[in-house]
């Protein structure tokens, strides 16, 4: 009997999750908690979008941070300089990212494996150097100064921390829901088929590059939504958002949470942020600690936290067999 996935059931789960997130601040009042959730949502959306490419599509992009930075700067600049409303800026950011992703994707996808990875990274560093160089517009290495205005829309005032919190949670849940739907659609299965056996996919009549490009664009859109959320939160945009370390952290979140699990990156985002918050309170050398944690996970718990737990659960019910990579 096949596991049936159902849109209605998932919608109910999503609504439930949103409800839970909405009432949590009652149990944990105070800025620390809601700030954490907002930052987590930005990272979780970003990391999940990267996992579409890496985990489900088998396309290892080293430069996904391109979209995070692009989303942050596009949104912030649109709000600051063009004075658009928030929904309009959101929409325009999505369109800009889709456009950039189409161009970048079309160029990168033709290349094999490691060259694809390098070229995506090159594009990201290109954006980074553009941001640093174009000081009059982007503020250069200081980041965007002047703040990001948050005009009211539809009765929602993002100046109000409660509204901001709810908005970010809603965007998080909606983004995860949509991405999950993509993964469970025929498109998602075709993507997995291409990941597992691209040659055979060709022999099924599939134009592999088209599917990959579409996946790249979808991932790019949601990657930039992650950046958008962050820029909304910090009311600015910083060159760091486009620096290669964002891509590295994305990979870390995915591998931490478990590459074959849809919600893995979300778990990874939580862990990364917890780690960041705890460690920066203790020492200024966060990089050192993070590096050690990464090594521990990379060499020790390879399938990530959720992957590890999944395997543990599976092996309780049946004798250990050969592992098939990627399937949970």
């Amino acid at each position: 009997m096949m596991r049936t996935s159902s849109i209605t059931r998932d919608a109910l789960v999503a609504a439930g999750a949103l409800l839970i997130l909405a009432v949590l601040p009652l149990a944990f009042p105070g800025k620390a908690f809601s700030d954490f959730v907002i930052r987590m949502s930005a990272f979780a959306v970003f990391a999940t979008s990267l996992n579409l490419l890496v985990g489900y599509g088998g396309m290892v992009s080293f430069g996904h941070g391109l979209f995070y930075g692009l989303g942050a700067y596009s949104f912030a600049l649109l709000m600051q300089k063009a004075g658009t409303s928030i929904p309009m800026a959101f929409l325009l950011t999505v369109l800009i990212s889709a456009g950039v992703a189409t161009v970048v994707g079309a160029i990168c996808i033709r290349l094999k494996e490691i060259y694809f990875s390098f070229l995506t990274l090159a594009f990201q560093m290109l954006l980074y150097s553009l941001i640093i160089a174009w000081t009059p517009v982007t503020g250069g290495d200081q980041g965007l100064t002047g703040g990001v205005p948050r005009p009211e829309f539809l009765g929602i005032r993002l100046d109000d921390p409660h509204h901001l919190y709810l908005f970010c949670c809603a965007v998080l849940i909606a983004s995860l829901f949509i991405m999950y739907h993509f993964v469970q659609s025929p498109f998602g299965y075709t993507l997995r088929m291409i990941r597992d056996n691209p040659r055979r996919a060709g022999f099924l009549g599939i134009q592999v590059w088209r599917v990959r490009l579409l996946a790249f664009v979808v991932a790019g859109i949601f990657g930039s939504i992650g950046g958008l959320l962050m820029s909304l939160f910090v009311s600015s945009a910083y060159p760091d958002f486009a620096y290669w370390t964002i891509s590295g952290e994305g990979v870390f979140m995915i591998l931490m949470g478990g590459i074959g699990v849809f919600l893995g990156p979300l778990a990874g985002a939580v862990v990364l942020l917890l780690l960041a918050d705890i460690v920066t309170g203790l020492t200024e050398y966060f990089g050192l600690v993070l590096g050690i944690v990464i090594l521990f996970f990379a060499l020790g718990m390879r399938k990530g936290l959720l992957g590890f737990l999944f395997d543990f659960w599976k092996n309780r019910r049946a004798p250990a067999g050969n592992a098939i990579p990627g399937k949970h």
Binding site: K112, I114, A122, G248, Y285, G291, I294, L295, F297
Partner: protein, 299 residues
Amino acid sequence: MDFDALLSCFGSASCVVTQATGGLISGMLLFLVAAGLSLIFGTLKVTNFMHGSLYMLGAYFAYTLYNLSGNYAIAVLGAALGVGAFALVFERLFMSRVYGSDVLLQLLVCYGFILILDDVVKIVWGAEFLAMGMPETFQHPPVMIAGGVLPVFYLFLIGITLVVAGALGFLITKTRIGKIVRAAAVNPTMTSALGINTALVFGGVFALGGMLAGLAGALAVPVRSLVSGMGFSILIESFIVTVIGGMGSVAGALVGALLIGLVRSFGTIGFPLFTDGLMFLFMTIVLIVRPSGLFGKDR
């Protein structure tokens, strides 16, 4: 974009010479780093993503050794050997565990090390920019060619790099060790079955690649400033170089590095804000025309 500046530079012999020599030494340093990267990739089929950190370590080691000994030759040799040893340890203890794994895992291990090393450098040497200045041996008036400036140190750098390049080429193609390395690259199981210690071979290659990067760092110290995280931009450039030249090809790395060095050097005049963009554009064009690079072996 400043086309006028660029054109007027082409018109002036002194400008051309100065920029060309600047580009040449950038290219030489880049070649050493990229050659190491390419060697490691060609033999071990793994991308050493922390290669830039080895360059950084080489620079810092040389800085300290020079300050301690006052002798630049010792500084360079010591740095290269020190980084080579470090690379060997890294390979044996960490990298070798993820050889067969997903490239993401390899990336992650290297990323972990980059973070660790960047902070270690900050802890030991501090977070500010450091500069060593020109060692006494090279404090001579520069050579003038057609009005353009060619510092004596540049000659030394170019010379050393060419010697190293020649030695590397000779080592790989003509000697028995080179043959063993190539055999192990093509078929490690068989080579191991023939009684050759492949672990030693792999460790040795990684150490050699690391030494090249460390050497580049040590040679760069008189002409570049040192800071934590300096490895990353040269890593990106050496990626571009290996992609243009073709992964696994040392000759390709030389050609690619020189091209990139010159593009960068003349590019800073014409496109001061966008030199990176220019390099990347160059790489894109090469990849469109020759997807495996100029000298690449199609894997």
